[in-house]
């Protein structure tokens, strides 16, 4: 089937099998390997991307469902060489160790803060329930999201 979608500002059209998952489309068809696959069963959230303004697990979405969609992946989050505040915050606050969950974690967190820049810590934790990290114990991830929220216009 023919699918067409805008990924990180550029439109791509490909002929794909109906069963192809969006994450495989991004990784294998477009060569964007920043979006990771961690579990195959939609628990870990390493594959989280933005689709039409929502944070979506791309392992639970078919490529054909994204036909016509606007998508942002971790590769498209920075503004050129200027990192997004969430990327900067994860770096500065040691919000990552092995880094495999990080793209999904950053994409999920970015959408959370965009939706509500004044989240409480409990709301941040609730919002990241669908993303698993095995390394950090989550504390530095929460610190990172709080720091980014402050940069992204929270607290006013």
């Amino acid at each position: 089937m023919k699918v067409s979608m805008t990924v990180n500002g550029k439109t791509y059209t490909r002929d794909v099998e109906p069963r192809m998952l969006l994450v495989h489309f991004l990784r294998d068809e477009l060569g964007m390997t920043g979006t990771n696959i961690g579990c195959d069963t939609s628990q870990c959230g390493a594959c989280t991307i933005h689709m039409n303004g929502m944070a979506v697990k791309s392992c639970t979405t078919l490529a054909v469902q994204a036909d016509g969609a606007t998508i942002t992946t971790i590769e498209g989050l920075a503004n050129g060489s200027e990192l997004h505040p969430m990327q900067k915050a994860f770096w500065e606050n040691h919000g990552l160790q092995c880094g495999y969950c990080t793209p999904g974690m950053i994409m999920a967190a970015t959408k959370l803060v965009e939706n509500n820049p004044n989240m409480t810590e409990a709301e941040i934790r609730h919002g990241l329930e669908g993303n698993i990290c095995r390394c950090t114990g989550y504390e530095n991830i929460v610190r990172s999201v709080k720091a980014a929220a402050a940069q992204m216009g929270g607290g006013d």
Binding site: R27, G31, M32, T33, G34, T35, N36, I37, G38, C39, D40, T41, S42, Q43, C44, A46, T73, I74, E75, L77, A78, L83, Q87, K88, F90, W91, E92, H94, L96, Q97, C98, G99, Y100, C101, T102, P103, I106, R125, H126, L128, E129, N131, I132, C133, R134, C135, T136, G137, Y138, E139, N140, I141, V142
Partner: protein, 748 residues
């Protein structure tokens, strides 16, 4: 030479830019031109003999390039401590007994195809006839040796250690109280977020090259070389970004099959790279686990609280192949008596072969199983004696020069007493009014608000020691090369090192140490890492050893490079193969030995709430006091403590691998639950202590395993404080907690 100082500095990670932008390249991200795709067929047989194998239907599928089996492996055996496992189980093997599958995760074929889909379809078309053999899955059954799984070994007891110290009769006679306990410890799955993946190809110099996530490039190289029958320098191992390890990448996963396929493809004139990526299910089925264990132990003490004697029998289920089981057993055997002076000891520890998933390295490496028994015994002794658990520990802990159960003295720098005291002070031990009970919702389901009357609160403490570096005579070394570039001033420092960056931050800390050792700014240091073609043998990232060993190797290399610089060599190079003080293995009869050259020390206190109606446990607070010697990068250390505590929290409360008749029944994250962000303690307080290790680099100790070890027994103690009931088995799932509480007439 007076070493230049190092300042504690939470340098942001040197690998973070790639990791926050998606540019970091994990093995499964490497996509060269002309790529072939592979799949591995597992036997799926806990114990069966292969009668026949038919590849014809699989080979006939379009897009299938080749299928390699046992007969294609030049030297069909491998293993980290002994070559007891076939690379592939099958017919026509170069080694005897390799037609028998002992584990469902044994490999039987590697399929190479133009697409992943074609490889998977071919894998499913391979027809195999198996003769079923009786399985042995219980360690005590296996120890009867009625069915011997490795005929060449002659017994299912893979290894036994014993310790005989002092006079047991006198020890029991001197005891006013005796506490006896039987403990059952579960498997634990590493669950690193990046499932195994790798790339195999022949490089420009004709070397069989494997890019993969591992923990020790030179060990991978040696095992691949052995199986392929090639000299080591014909094998090249490269580690790109690695998505976590925790001990789970210490043994081979895809290394040998990737190398084998690349080699055999080239012989057929196909010089194309091959990539294999495992699914989560393949990862969980296909690699070893933390050993499940049973421990029966008896401790005696005087009414003043001095330990007089300990006996124990500890059994690890080492599964179908050895992996690192004998080494893990050695650690569990030493740590089953805790960080205490034990005047009389009679200890027997066994690693036992079964048809279950192999046990192997996992953060703590046998320590957690030993510590669970020791710390539960100490807390029970404290209760029986009516002595405060902190006070009881301080009466018995090891000090500099204390004689271990293995009858050698502790190396200098023992700080366990200070660590316990600090942990107790930080949590306000002895003042139960300070118990932090928060307004936690308790159930994650909003409508299920707990009945306040069914919530009980408690507090517990435990402590541990853990070796830094290889133990019991295992050859220890770490190589480093430093090159100083420039003419009049040192402009650029290049460190060549093998240390694997598995997420712990080793590259960042090595860069900090190289800058300090040479006396330049961190920005002047460049790293060339983890490629056997460019960097030396660092040993593994395991045993909490890399900061300690690499730091010492870097200091040595820097000293030599600076001397070369002074004698006008440009670039000035220094190479060192650092070796620490020697250790020795257990003597057969008594267990006497010099086990380790350095240790780290930790204590943890826990406050929790349990709902006695539902059995749910919520951990309100964890205080972890960890003596790291010197905190070179405090934020990385805090990250290790928080990460280890949450992993241990999962081990204690929720991680529940279901293994039945030799098969893992829940090989998915949907069924094997690891802690999510809402499952973890409300608050983890990292207390970083800096009591120098006399022979550590800048005084540093290893630290990353230690915070894992005491958490489970500290939780058990807190649960006892809350309910009055001792639990001797983890994980403390709600069903297990409820059942035991009801036995004691609590709740319901």
């Amino acid at each position: 030479m007076i070493p230049s100082p190092i300042s504690s500095h939470s340098l942001p990670r040197v690998d973070a830019l790639g990791k926050v932008t998606g540019q970091a390249c994990y093995p499964g991200d490497i996509t060269p031109n002309n790529l072939l795709h592979g799949k591995v067929l597992f036997s799926g047989q806990p114990h069966a003999r292969m009668i026949s194998m038919d590849l014809s239907a699989a080979l006939a599928l379009p897009g299938v390039v080749a299928i390699f089996t046992a007969k294609d492996v030049p030297n069909n055996e491998y293993g980290l401590i002994m070559p007891d496992q076939p690379v592939m189980v099958g017919l026509g093997s170069s080694k005897p007994h390799s037609d028998v599958s002992l584990w469902e995760g044994d490999h039987v074929a590697v399929i190479v195809a133009e697409t992943e889909l074609a490889a998977a379809q071919a894998r499913d078309k391979i027809e195999i006839e198996w003769e079923q053999l009786p399985i042995v899955t219980d360690v005590r059954e296996a120890m009867k040796d009625e069915i011997i799984l490795h005929p060449w070994h002659g017994s299912n007891i893979l290894h036994k250690y014993q310790i005989r110290k002092g006079d047991m009769a006198a020890g029991w006679a001197a005891a006013d109280v005796v506490v006896e306990g039987s403990y059952t410890l579960p498997y634990q799955e590493h669950a690193y977020l990046q499932p195994e993946a790798g790339l195999g190809y022949i490089d420009e110099e004709g070397r069989v090259t494997i890019e993969i996530g591992g923990q020790w490039t030179y060990e991978d190289q040696e095992q691949v070389a052995h199986a392929l029958g090639l000299p080591a320098d014909q094998i090249r191992i490269i580690y790109p970004a690695i998505g976590g390890a925790f001990g789970g990448r210490e043994d081979m996963s895809l290394q040998i099959v990737l190398g084998l396929a690349a080699l055999r493809l080239q012989e057929r004139g196909i010089k194309r790279p091959l990539r294999i990526i495992w699914s989560r299910e393949e990862s969980i089925v296909g690699h070893h686990k933390r050993h499940r264990a049973v421990v029966h132990t008896k401790w005696g003490a005087t009414k003043e609280g001095m330990i007089t004697a300990v006996s124990s029998e500890l059994i690890l289920d080492s599964g179908s192949y050895a992996y690192t089981s004998t080494k893990v057993l050695g650690n569990a055997h030493l740590m089953v008596t805790g960080p205490y002076v034990i005047p009389n000891a009679h200890l027997d520890s066994y690693a036992v072969t079964t048809n279950n998933v192999p046990g192997g390295a996992f953060r703590g490496f046998g320590g957690p199983q030993g510590a669970f028994a020791a710390e539960n015994q100490m807390n029970k002794l404290a209760e029986k004696l009516g002595i405060d658990p902190v006070e009881l520990r301080l009466k018995n802990v090891l000090h500099d020069g204390s004689i271990l159960t293995v009858q050698s003295p502790m190396p200098p720098g023992v700080s366990i007493d200070q660590v316990i005291e600090r942990c107790a002070a930080e949590i306000g031990w002895g003042d139960s009014n300070q118990l932090s009970v928060n307004g936690h919702q308790f159930s994650s389901i909003q409508s299920l608000i707990a009945n306040p009357q069914s919530l009980c609160h408690g507090r517990g403490i435990a402590c541990s020691f853990k070796n830094v570096g290889f133990s019991f005579g295992a050859p220890e070394r770490c190589e480093a090369t430093i090159a100083l570039h420039g003419q009049r001033e040192i402009e650029r420092v290049v460190l060549y090192h093998g240390a694997a960056e598995v997420g712990q931050g080793s590259h960042t800390v090595l860069k900090q140490m190289a800058a300090a050792a040479v006396g330049v700014d961190i920005s002047q240091v460049e790293l060339v890492m983890s490629d056997t073609a460019t960097s030396g043998d660092s040993g593994s990232v395991s045993a909490s050893r890399m900061t300690w060993m690499a730091g010492n190797s870097i200091r040595g290399a820097a000293e030599k490079a600076l001397a070369a610089w002074a004698s006008e060599e440009r670039p000035a190079k220094g190479y060192v193969r650092f070796t620490p003080p020697p250790t020795t293995g257990y003597a057969e009869e008594t267990g006497e030995c010099m086990p380790n050259f350095a240790y780290g020390y930790v204590a943890e206190a826990v406050e929790l709430t349990v709902d006695v109606e539902t059995g749910h446990i919520h951990v309100d607070k964890v205080v972890c006091a960890n003596d790291v010697g010197k905190a070179i990068n405090p934020m990385l250390i805090q990250g290790q403590i928080e990460g280890a505590v949450v992993q241990a929290h999962g081990y204690s409360l929720m991680e529940n691998l279901w293994v039945e008749n030799g098969r893992i029944r829940n090989p998915f994250f949907s069924q094997y639950l690891i802690p999510g962000i809402k499952d973890i303690p409300d608050h983890v307080e990292s207390v970083i202590m800096e009591i120098p290790d006399p022979i550590g680099p800048w005084g540093a100790r290893g630290m990353a395993e230690m915070p894992f070890m005491p958490l489970a027994p500290a939780i058990i103690a807190a649960l006892h404080d809350a309910t009055g009931v001792w639990f001797d088995e983890i994980p403390l799932t709600p069903a297990r907690v409820v059942a035991k509480l009801r036995e004691h007439g609590i709740g319901g």
